[in-house]
């Protein structure tokens, strides 16, 4: 089980936060890994919801133009997801973190059993200090294959796990949005230092799960 009094952060990273002109930006991926490793070492539970599989597939097959054909996107995602996880694994290892892969669809909310299974797995992984990396299972669902950000999947995960906050990386710069489960306010940060300051100084709140508000399923991201 998740250790008591450890807040859970769901970290949402869209294509735009780790790539430029459809090319993966490794510096940015490393920033994400460092940030998350720091939060984990500061006793937060962190789950990463990351896009990027199609981009990795494009790189693997030397495609410069973003494909239009949906099945081709799916095929690239199927191959690119392996590369994406390998990349995260390699970089997280530099900061002594272990990762595990979870592929989900947003439709999961329709099935009680699936949610329970996913919850059990994620809680187990967090309890043994693995960082779960979640992505859309593009093989069976194209719901999010077109979307520019993966906040919708992050919010579904945050809701069924009763997460305390969602952190959204806004682009290749250091801008982040934070949404809290116990407040309607979106906090905006313009540097990683501000983000660190917020999480390092913050007293982790042990909130009764019933008091947590649901995260909105979609966001107007500016």
């Amino acid at each position: 089980m998740i250790k008591q009094n450890k807040e859970l952060i769901v970290f949402s990273v869209g294509d735009n936060a780790i790539s430029k002109n459809y090319t993966p930006n490794y510096e940015s991926i490393e920033r994400v890994c460092i940030l998350i490793s720091n939060l984990v070492n500061k006793d937060y539970n962190v789950i990463l919801v990351s896009a990027g599989a199609i981009l990795m597939g494009m790189k693997k097959f030397h495609l410069e133009k973003y494909p239009e054909d949906v099945s081709l996107k799916q095929a690239l995602a199927s191959s690119g997801q392996i590369e994406l996880i390998k990349t995260y694994q390699k970089i997280f290892h530099r900061y002594s973190q272990d990762v595990a892969q979870i592929l989900l669809t947003r439709e999961i909310i329709k099935s009680h059993t699936r949610i329970k299974n996913a919850k059990d797995t994620l809680n187990k992984l967090l309890s043994i200090n693995y960082i779960p990396i979640i992505n859309e299972n593009d093989t069976v669902s194209v719901e999010d294959i077109e979307s520019k950000n993966n906040y919708p999947l992050a919010s579904v995960v945050a809701n069924f796990l009763n997460a305390n906050s969602i952190v959204i990386k806004k682009g290749l710069n250091e801008k982040y949005d934070i949404i809290q489960a116990y407040s309607d306010k979106i906090i905006k940060f313009s540097s990683e230092n501000e983000l660190y300051k917020y999480f390092y100084q913050k007293k982790q709140i042990s909130v009764n799960n019933d008091k947590l508000k649901a995260f909105p399923l979609t966001l107007e991201l500016k």
Binding site: K60, F61, D69, V70, S71, L72, Q74, A75, S78, S79, Q81, I82, I85, K86, Q89, D98, V99, A100, Q101, I102, L103, L104, T105, I108, S111, R114, N117, A118, D120, T121, N123, K124, L125, I128, Y130, P132, N137, D138, T139, V140, S141, V142
Partner: protein, 266 residues
């Protein structure tokens, strides 16, 4: 008698954990390397290959330093989530050495019962085969626990064969084929070389005392055969100890148990 087999082009291969690991449950990389070599050569000869591979839990428990295969459900699922990435890395490294690219497909049984997901899975698999990427399919254990407990991917491999309309499904495990009786208790038991239809007799054979044959279990293999029969896809059960057996099978040699559902194919 199996000369038709040599004409088959779209082939699905299912390999169980026991065929990929040492007796102690740890990975046997030489077996994987051999399997990859055989499959890569088949593909270069113009065949379309889809691999259904177990092994994520074995890799995961090894990463976690567990002495025994986990038994608690959440532990198995966590091991699967950890080990699937390792499993794919291993396959990718070996396949890349043979200049082959792979794609990862994680499915659950209920994915295939919902029309939109089934269509998506079919489109992805067809596209991968079309552009020459070898799909490697496994159960998405995180959200579905049935397969961890019972199936060991036998039925999943039959569903996948159905989705891609395969010509042949080869199921490799730690048994030589379907026997006339349990070979462990009956020294006169012999392998049934060919089955043309799943009869009540065959089902009883798999169910009865024979349910203890091998670790994969014969019952799920007969379940797989029934799915294949309904789609006119031929299937073979053979021993995966030496992956070269795939080549022998495709040469039409009498190996394992051949479920001949081919002639009915349109």
């Amino acid at each position: 008698m199996r000369n038709k087999i040599t004409e088959l082009k779209r082939i699905a291969v299912k390999i169980g954990t026991s065929s990929l690991t040492h007796k102690n449950g740890k990975f046997d990389f030489s077996k994987i390397e051999q399997l990859v070599q055989v499959l890569s050569e088949l593909k270069m000869q113009g065949n379309e290959i889809t691999l259904v591979s177990s092994g994520a839990i074995a890799v995961g428990s090894s990463s976690l330093g567990l002495e025994k295969r986990p038994e608690v459900k959440e532990e198995k699922q966590a091991c699967a989530a950890i080990g699937q990435t390792g499993l794919m890395s291993i396959y990718e490294n070996f396949f890349n050495k043979k200049a082959q690219q792979i794609g990862q497909i994680l499915l659950t049984k209920d994915d295939l019962e919902i029309e939109s997901r089934l269509t998506n899975a079919k489109n992805t698999l067809e596209k991968l085969l079309d552009i020459g990427i070898i799909p490697i399919v496994n159960e998405n254990d995180t959200i579905s626990t049935l397969q961890i407990q019972f199936g060991d991917n036998d039925t999943l491999s039959a569903y996948v064969s159905k989705i891609i309309n395969a010509d042949l499904l080869i199921i490799l495990s730690d048994i030589d084929g379907l026997y006339t009786a349990d070979p462990k208790s009956n020294p006169n038991a012999t392998i049934i070389p060919q089955i043309n239809a799943i009869t009540k007799n065959i089902e009883n054979l798999a169910k009865g005392s024979g349910s203890t044959f091998g670790t994969g279990g014969m019952q799920t293999k007969i379940e797989a055969a029934k799915i294949c029969q309904a789609s006119n896809i031929s299937m073979i059960i053979a021993n995966g100890e030496n992956p070269q057996i795939i080549n022998e099978i495709l040469k039409g040699k009498q190996i394992g148990t051949f479920f001949n559902f081919y002639k009915k194919k349109k």
